[in-house]
Amino acid sequence: MTFSTPLTSPLHDRHVALGAKLADFGGWDMPIEYTGAGVVAEHTAVREAVGIFDVSHLGKAQVTGRAADGTTAVDFINACLTNDLRRITAGQAQYTLCCTEDGGVVDDLIAYVRADDDVFLIPNAANTAEVVDLLSAAAPAGITIVNQHTRYGIIAVQGPRSEEVLEGLGLPTGHDYMSFVDTTWQGRPVTVCRTGYTGEKGYEIVAGWDETPAVWDALAAAIEPLGGRACGLGARDTLRTEMGYPLHGNDLSPSITPVMAGSSWAVGWDKPSFWGKAALTEERAAKTTRLLRGLRVTGRGIPRPHCSVAVDGVDVGEVTSGTFSPTLKVGIALALLDRSVKVGDEVMIDVRGRDVSAEVVKPPFVTTGVRD
């Protein structure tokens, strides 16, 4: 697909009515923050109460069927993407990566296993078409990949009070982290996933594209008495950075591998095959590449992507994500650093020509309740 004009979510008119500031996000015109709130207030609502996010820009794709030799959709995905789907069963979801043969990352995504012959994928907005193309090209006869980007909308409900919100709507809660339930809400099929990108307990609700506004309206009404807020993608970014969750395009990319990004836990190293296995296995054993670390600013300033990092005047790496932490009230960053730099070391970040001191830390930067 080629998008000449920004696509809009099924909730676009809701965002406009709420006075959202909109910006391009992977080809989608999405809310960054809302009038009368802003990134800090929205971030705090998620950490302390609950927030709802429109993430309908995320991709959706379905992989179904089985090949004549018995290869199922699960087997096929397992032979392509990095993580090991044999670790989970139907009704569970898994974070995984789509790599190239040289180990670079095309995308990071979540795979939801409905059955051996039915896997639902949620890739990043901008990478969905490429992931679908790569899988389609590799699929044997009998296995079908369908891009369903605009068939479903997605609303994330995140925060310690998210469970109350869902209960109020009569939606299922209490299932394990990284699992999901297919159900109906007022006659509409919805999927309630215990997933998210904030570090808080939360859910992501997948609904039919045209039915997403009704779900949003019900959620918006339910969060109001709980101190909840509609949250934009600005808060989603500060929340995920506080957790040290990588963002594709910043902390994972065609040139930043899972080994470098500390995502080796999402690789099934003992699987017979996955895209990039040879290159990544070699890189992992060599132990020479830079590693993604956390930086917590001890001076004054906010690191941003591509700021260089030095120790005693010697360049040791580069910031990949950096922002202001609304929880800690200081600048925080993820940075690719030489292996000589250890947790606890002090480094200097070059923030537009000014030296800003920071301590190397192990993310997450905050403690949260994602598994509570």
Partner: protein
Amino acid sequence: MSDLEYPEDLRYTADHEWVREGNEGVVRIGVTAYAQDALGDVVFVNLPTVGDEVAVGDAVGEIESTKSVSDLYAPVAGEVVTVNEALAATPELVNSDPYGEGWMYELRLDVEATTDDLLDAGAYEAQLA
């Protein structure tokens, strides 16, 4: 946004800064309601140093929000005589009170410097449209 205000007693620049004339050739400088709204939550302000001599258009500091960073430009020439120390700990004053507690710094105007070339409230608001 129609609810943003631009006080009549201030002068403005196209870079969304305001200048308030005070006693004895000292002017106070800050950013407009439009600027703080466009920036979003202000989380860091880097101000010039007292004693700095600045010329019109010099980049004298930075104002940073959760989303982006912008330079502060000197709207008039002069010497920095005071900076708003409160912004170090409470940069959010720029959002809550851009013309009051959220001021940035004060300059003693150079001998020949004047605010006459700056925009009045009507002209500033007109060029936002």
